[in-house]
Each structure stands twice: as C-alpha cells, then as structure tokens.
C-alpha cells in the first residue's frame, strides 16, 4: 500500500469530511438550495428582523439575570449597598433585584439592556405588523403567518407584563394589584380566577414565583416555538416582493442568501445590538430603587406601565363608570376594556385576511405587495385602528400630560372619550382621501409626463408647463397613455435621469462624474446659451 504524504491528506480532509456528512445526511442538495435561495430586498422587510434580533438579545441578557434573581416573596430587611433603603422590609425578589443593580459588576447594564430590548421587541412587532397590514402581505397564502404574528404580540405582551412584575418594586406591585382587579372583574368566575392565580387573597406569597416560571420558561418557550414556525413559513412560502421591473407573481427577484444577503443580516444584527447597548448605557429605565418596595398603601403619581400596555391602561381610564347589575350580581366596568378589550383587539384582527378575501371575493395567491395608496379602504381601516391605539396610549399618560401642559385632568379624560369615537372615523376619511389623491397624481403623471417646472409661452399668449413624457409619444408629441405598474411613478426630472447623478465622495469627488444623459429634445443649458430672464417689456 502506498503511503500518502501528510500534505495531500490535509488538502483532502475537508472533501473527505464533506463526503462523510453527505453519506449520512444527504445534505448536498438541500444545502445548495439554501445557499442559493433568492431573497427580495427592501428596507421595510427588515422591521421583523429587529424583533427577531431583540428576542435574541432578550434571551442572552435574560439568562444572565436569572443567575442573580431570587423569585421569592419572603420578607427580609435590606442590608445592601444602596443606603436609602437599608433596613427597609422588602421581599427577596426586590432585594435581589437591587443586589443585581448595585452589587453585580455590569448587572445594571444587563438589566437595562434586557428592558430596552423588550421595549424594542414590542415596538418592532407593532411596526412590522403595520408594514404587513398596509402592504397587504397577509393575503393568501400567508394568512396563517398573520395569525401567528398576532399571537406573538399577545405573548410578547404577557412576557413584558410578567417580566416587569418580577422585581416586586412599588410600580410593579401596583401593576399586579390592577391585574388582580382585572381578574376579579370577570363575571361569575372572577374571584376564583384571581384566588387560583395568586394562591389566595392578593398578594399572597406565590405570585412572583409563578410569574417567574411563566416569564423564563413557559412564555419564552411559546415565543420560540411560534417564531420558529413564523420564520419557517416565510422560508417555505418565500418572501413577498414589491412590483417592479422583472418582478411577477410567480418569481422572486433579489439576491442569493449567501453571501451578500446573510452578510447584510449579520451587520444589521450588530447595529440593532449596538442600539440596545447604547440605550441601556445612556438612558435609565425602570429605576426600581427609586420606587421602593411594594406597599399596598403607597403609589406615586404618574404610575405608567411599559408603552405597549399603556393603550390598555388608557382604555381603562376612559371607560365610563357603567356597572351592569343582574339581580344580586354585577359586572364592573373594568371588565369591558381590560378583559373584553384586550381579548378583542388581540384576536379579532386574526380574522382580517379572511374577512377581506370574502368581501372582495379574492381567492388568488398574492406574492406581489400592494402599495398602500392602491387600496384606500384597507388603509382607512388600518388608520382607524392606529388612531384608536394611539388615543388609548396617550390617555394612558393623560395625568402626566395634564400636569405638564396645565390641562384639566377631567378635560383630558373627556377628550379621550370623545376622541376614541370621533377621531378614528376622521382618520378613515382622511386616509382614504389621501390615498385617492396620490393615486390620481400617479395616473396624471403617467398620462401627461413629469412636470418639468419649465413654463412655455405660446404665440397666443397662453402659458403652459412643459411635461416630460415617460414613454412614447404620438405624432403631435402627446404622450401615449401608460399602464400603472403598481410601483413608484417617477415624479421629478432627476428620477428620469435628466439631472446628473450625484458625484460620489463626501469632502471631494472620488471619481469623475459620469456624463448626464442628454435628451435630444432638451439640450442641457450651458452658460453661453442661457438668456437672461427679463420682464419681457422693452
């Protein structure tokens, strides 16, 4: 047998290894398909990624926090580094959160990263959802992913609430008190639900431990599972794309996943991570040591929940005091916004893709996105929802606004109550009108060409503006009507190449500017031929 040289062995090693892998897993074909998979590109497709990256940061920082946090409600006298609270009776949960903030190297930084990443996670989910909604990306075949997305919002909401309840500080205890009241308000079974979850009367000794396991295991497990399915479906069904040159309903135009697309994702992850680090370093969030331990008798004014819970708090504030009495029993007004409201607003939109398809009778498969202006009714309904959400959120801080702007608190409440009914309707009307106006302008440019800003005086004294046709013209020089392609219509001359492209370089040009394309009908204006503009009177 011939003895092989060591060098040849080394060169051959990766090939041998790869062959070995393929013999066992038949990986070649799927791996190549993965490397080659084409992804369409648009900035708005990155919003969901922000949520994904925030979730990864949440997992990383969250695991660190669990190493120090003690989810126990046993009372203890604080003896830690923060002098203002020394000697105060508090729960172990609160004391260990203080310990984590003051006596663990970098602990405060990790806590703040975790909280900021949570806020960013929810914000990215909401903005991503708006993108999906307003562009019609949820249409067949992607309805299920829309439903999963809504479920992810609800799970994120619960993750956030259980999370900020854990430190057992003054603010989070107040939140728990309200949560207990919300459970109590459920007709028939309310007291049973609250007693079962809190293990007796509020607050009991169990709730922090129960929320802890929900926050670190059950809810993240659900999130992880749903995120996997969400991404798996995006992968399987292939991403939607905007209409444009070459793009059809049956293809994907973009770039292969490796290397360029994957590299850009990696860079973007680093940027998101950097943003969270910057926020966590510079902007204090949830300074629990200022709130003190939870005492049922104490609350500070301006007690606001995290931003994604504020709409719910606002709706609770705006709800009139209508109590329904049924014989000896009653339903408190808290039930409607907090239980029915939250349940409705997180689950009813799940049915939207089917409702819309039924109304329009549209059973086709849609892989091309729709510009918002091309579906005014959808934009109108979306604007209604956004307006409703915003008024709820603003009302969640109406005491702070009333205080800072010297407005009567009662006036703020009434403005919210009326606004909640009137403004969504107004938003619908305005959104539809704006969409129709934008549509009309697109059609106008397609029919007549781009407005050049050049005014021509005709022999009969009439002034007309010169339009640059976007396509072929007829014998009289009038543009032939063009079909609308569902994508951006150029509306300025530099969009059709009439002006020179920007010169590259920040302080000095790094390359010679390329020649501006010249339209034969409109030679470029140079200094020699330019006439001085006079009043026309001699």
């Amino acid at each position: 047998m011939k003895r092989r040289t060591g060098k040849a062995d080394l060169q051959q090693a990766p090939v041998t290894f790869a062959k070995g892998v393929d013999e066992r897993f038949q990986a070649s074909t799927p791996l190549r398909a993965l490397l080659n998979k084409v992804f369409p590109d648009h900035w708005s497709f990155l919003l969901g990624e922000i949520a994904l990256f925030s979730f990864i940061i949440l997992l990383l920082t969250g695991v660190f926090l669990t190493l120090f946090f003690d989810p126990s409600m046993t009372e203890t006298a604080y003896q830690g580094a923060y002098p203002a609270l020394r000697g105060t009776e508090m729960s172990q949960a609160y004391a260990s959160s203080l310990h984590l903030s003051f006596e663990v190297r970098g602990g405060l930084f990790m806590r703040q990263m975790h909280h900021w990443a949570a806020l960013l996670f929810m914000a990215a989910i909401v903005v991503h959802m708006l993108r999906i909604f307003f562009t019609g990306a949820y249409r067949k075949p992607r309805e299920i992913n829309w439903v999963i997305g809504m479920a992810l919002f609800l799970l994120g909401f619960l993750a956030g609430f259980t999370g900020y309840s854990l430190p057992d500080d003054g603010l989070s205890g107040t939140g728990l008190r309200i949560a207990s009241a919300i459970m109590l308000s459920i007709p028939v079974v309310g007291t049973w639900v609250s007693a079962s979850i809190f293990g007796g009367e509020f607050p009991g000794h169990l709730i922090i431990g129960r929320f802890y396991i929900a926050h670190v295991l059950l809810i993240p497990g659900g999130l992880l599972a749903l995120i996997s399915v969400h991404l798996g479906l995006v992968f399987k069904q292939k991403h939607t794309q905007w209409p444009g040159p070459m793009r059809t309903n049956t293809n994907v135009v973009g770039e292969r996943m490796f290397p360029r697309y994957a590299l850009k994702q990696g860079g973007f992850f680093m940027a998101v991570f950097g943003t969270v680090a910057l926020l966590a370093g510079l902007f204090q969030i949830n300074p629990i040591w200022l709130f003190g331990p939870y005492r049922a008798s104490e609350v500070s004014s301006a007690s606001q929940p995290d931003w994604y819970v504020m709409f719910l708090d606002g709706l609770v504030r705006l709800m009139p005091n209508w109590q329904i009495y049924i014989g000896d029993y009653s339903i408190p007004p808290l039930f409607w916004p907090a239980v029915v409201g939250l349940g409705f607003f997180t689950t009813a939109p799940m049915a939207w893709p089917w409702l819309e398809a039924r109304k329009t009778g549209d059973k086709r498969i849609h892989n091309l996105l729709e510009r918002p202006r091309d579906n005014p009714e959808r934009v109108g309904i979306g604007s209604m929802a956004v307006t409703f959400f915003l008024i709820g959120t603003i009302s969640g801080a109406n005491d702070v606004i009333a205080d800072k702007f010297h407005i009567s608190l009662n006036a703020m409440t009434w403005a919210g109550r009326i606004g909640l009914i009137v403004l969504p309707a107004l938003a619908y009307y305005l959104a539809v009108r704006i969409c129709l106006g934008l549509q009309q302008h697109d059609r106008e440019v397609l029919a007549h060409g781009v407005e050049t800003g050049i005014i021509r005086r005709l022999p009969n004294g009439q002034f007309v503006e010169v339009h640059q046709p976007l396509g072929p013209v007829d014998d009289h020089g009038h543009p032939l009507p063009l079909e609308y392609g569902g994508w951006v219509v150029p509306k300025k001359m530099n969009r059709v190449g009439a002006l020179a492209p920007a010169v590259k370089g920040f302080f000095y040009p790094v390359e010679k500017p390329s020649e501006a394309p010249v339209s034969p009908g409109m030679p470029p204006v140079s200094g020699d031929t330019r006439e001085e503009i006079t009043s026309g009177r001699k």
Binding site: N249, V252, P259, R260, L278, G281, A296, L334, V510
Partner: protein, 368 residues
C-alpha cells in the same frame, strides 16, 4: 434599481459538471439552473480593478474594523478597571454603566457597519430571479393523500363498527385518561375564594376576629397607635390595623385614610353619613376614615385635595368626594369607598368599632 429588461430567457442548457474545462463559476451556475434561479446581473461595483473608489471603500471598512477592536478593548478595560461599586456621593461609579454602553455600542456599530459596507459596496452587485412554486399539490397527489387518510380512518372505524364492545370501552377508557392529564395540572391551582373560615374577600385587618375578639386599634406603619390630637385639622394620615403584620402586604386590603375634617366640612360629612344606612354613626367627632383601596382597580386612592375634599386615585383618576360618603364623582369607579366606623378606646387611642361595613377593594361579580 436596475432597468434591465428581461424578455423570455433562453433556458440555459444543463452542463456536465465533470467536464474538466468548466470553471467553478460555471458549476455554480449549473447549481443555480437546477434551483431554477437565473442570474440576471452579476457585476463588480467598480470600474476596473484597483480603482480609486474601491481603495477608498476598502480603507473605510478596514478603519471600521479597527475602531470596533479598539472600542471592544475599551469596553473590557472599563468593565475591569473602572470603579463600579455603588457609593453614595461618588460620581465616578455613576459613569460605569454609560461607559459600558457607549464603548459596546461603538464596537457593535463599527462591526455592523463594516459588515454592511462590505456586503453592500465590495461584493458584486447581483440580481437573481428564482421561480416560485405556489398553490396546491398536483391533484393526483391530493387524491392519493386524501384517500390514504380516509382509509386510515376506515381501518380504525371498521374495527370499532364491527366490535361495539370496543367502541364503548374506548369511549369509557379514553375520556377519563384525558381528565387525568388535566386534573392534577389545574386542580392543584384552584383556590376557593369563599372559604367559610376565612372570608378574605369580605374582611380586613380591622375585623375584631383578627384581634382575638378585641376592637382593633388604628396604627401608623410602625405599629404605634394614634390619638385624635395626632392628626391636625385638615390633615390626613394613612393608618393600618393594629394587629401583627398589620402594616404589611399580608393585609393589602386594610390601608385606610384617616382624615381630620374642618368643622364645616365635618358637619356636611356627618349629615350625609347620617342619612346613609351603613355609614350612620361611623364618624368620630370631626374625624372620618375611608378605605384607601380604590373600588375600581385596587390602587391606593392616595391623593387627597384639601380644598375640594376630593380623593383622587392616581392609577385611573377616579375621584371620590369625601364629604358625600366618598361617592365617586369622576372616572371609572362606580362604588364609593367604604367608611371605617371610628371610636376611641379607654386609653384615648383610635379603634375601629367594627370592620368595614362595605366590601373593600375592586368590585366583582358576587359582591353582596
């Protein structure tokens, strides 16, 4: 965006990948063909090799990577050497978290932008088109799978149809098994809110039951009892039941607001209370005590406005009028704050002559 127009392409011919003349790129293209991908544009972003623009981009990316490394070292240096222990009055340690944040952010941003510029500016510009395969599976596949599923159902079903004994046994056997799985998970959690021996929903720490049958004193949060002269006219004080742990969260529904009203307000309050079946005789002199737990969502209604005699809950802005039996006059609360019947014992300290006569705290379905 590229304006390349694309008319029905000539489908590329399959090639023999074992042909030694093929370049690596041609083999890659064969892979693209098999994955139904067409590479429409694939070109360098620079004119010629080693152009000035290219060198500049390369320099920038290198610089970003170097910044990332420097900032990462700075992060480690701050993390290890900067004084981080919290000390009152020391501002040096206050900068620990911001310094970590800034150095880490610079490092991550620099790496991020370096990778992004690499991908966006150095790698060749590319437009690829891949075919989609939407819609249903072929109808024969649909039919085969559907028939298979029905057949599986039949196999199970026929067995049951022909053997009625099995049918009953399965129904009888499986249903309890399902319950067995659910029962211990749920059952252990269920807690009766209406236990006969401790009706927690309807009693507070002021109930004499909690104090061995004796009347419960009103105390401060440190447990010291209160004399009438401890509260000045127009003043108010949060009081707790004078039982062990009375001021802790064990008695979360017991915090009460003791108010010493001015004479005219007290007169009005007394008249309104006297007209009420439950609150009649609950005041002591010009003193009145209301539960502090908001009847809306259970926050402490702690903002007392002396001038208007209103009590405001800072959570959802319910407002209660002190002089009129703490009736809600604004906001989402529907129910008044319960009044604590006040008295003074033989030693001159405030006591509750009984527990609250109304249910304290947020409302619920079966509240009497």
């Amino acid at each position: 965006m590229t304006t390349l127009h694309h008319d029905a392409p000539d489908a590329p011919e399959p090639v023999d990948v074992d042909d030694p003349r093929l370049s690596r790129f041609e083999i890659v293209k064969e892979g693209l063909r098999r994955d139904e991908i067409e590479l429409v544009t694939y070109e360098s972003q620079f004119h010629g090799t080693n152009s000035k623009a290219e060198k500049r981009v390369v320099r920038n990316i290198a610089l970003l990577f170097i910044i990332a490394g420097v900032a990462a070292f700075a992060f480690l240096a701050f993390y290890i050497f900067w004084p981080w222990r919290f000390e009152l009055g020391s501002t040096t340690s206050d900068y620990y978290t911001p310094l970590l944040g800034i150095s880490l952010a610079i490092s991550l941003f620099a790496v991020g932008f370096a990778i992004l510029s690499w991908a966006k500016k150095l790698l060749p510009h590319e437009v690829s088109i891949q075919a989609r395969h939407d819609g249903a599976s072929p109808t024969d596949e649909q039919k085969i799978t559907g028939q298979t599923m029905i057949f599986v159902g039949d196999e199970l079903n026929q067995g049951v149809q022909r053997r009625p004994l099995l049918k009953g046994a399965i129904g009888f056997g499986l249903a309890p098994i399902g319950l067995v799985a659910a029962a211990p998970l749920i059952g252990g959690l269920i807690e009766n809110p209406h236990k006969a021996d401790q009706p927690d929903l309807f009693t507070t720490g002021f109930s004499p039951v909690k104090n061995g049958g004796n009347l419960v004193r009103l105390t401060r949060d440190d447990g010291t009892p209160i004399r009438p002269e401890d509260v000045s006219t127009g003043g108010q004080m949060t009081v707790f039941p004078g039982v062990p742990h009375g001021a802790t969260n064990e008695y979360a529904d017991s915090p009460t607001l003791l108010i010493h009203l001015r004479a005219d307000d007290a007169e009005e309050t007394r008249n309104n209370a006297a007209a009420d079946r439950r609150n009649a005789g609950s005041m002591w002199g010009n003193y009145v005590a209301y539960s502090k737990i908001c009847t809306h969502a259970g926050c402490p209604a702690s903002l007392y406005e002396q001038q208007t005699n209103r009590l405001l809950c800072p959570c959802h802005q319910s407002q209660f009028l002190i002089t009129r039996n703490a009736q809600p006059i604004f906001g989402p609360a529907t129910r008044r704050l319960p009044m604590l019947p006040l008295g003074v014992d033989e030693e001159g300290y405030f006591v509750a002559t009984s527990d609250f006569k109304d249910t304290v705290g947020p409302d619920f379905w079966e509240r009497p």
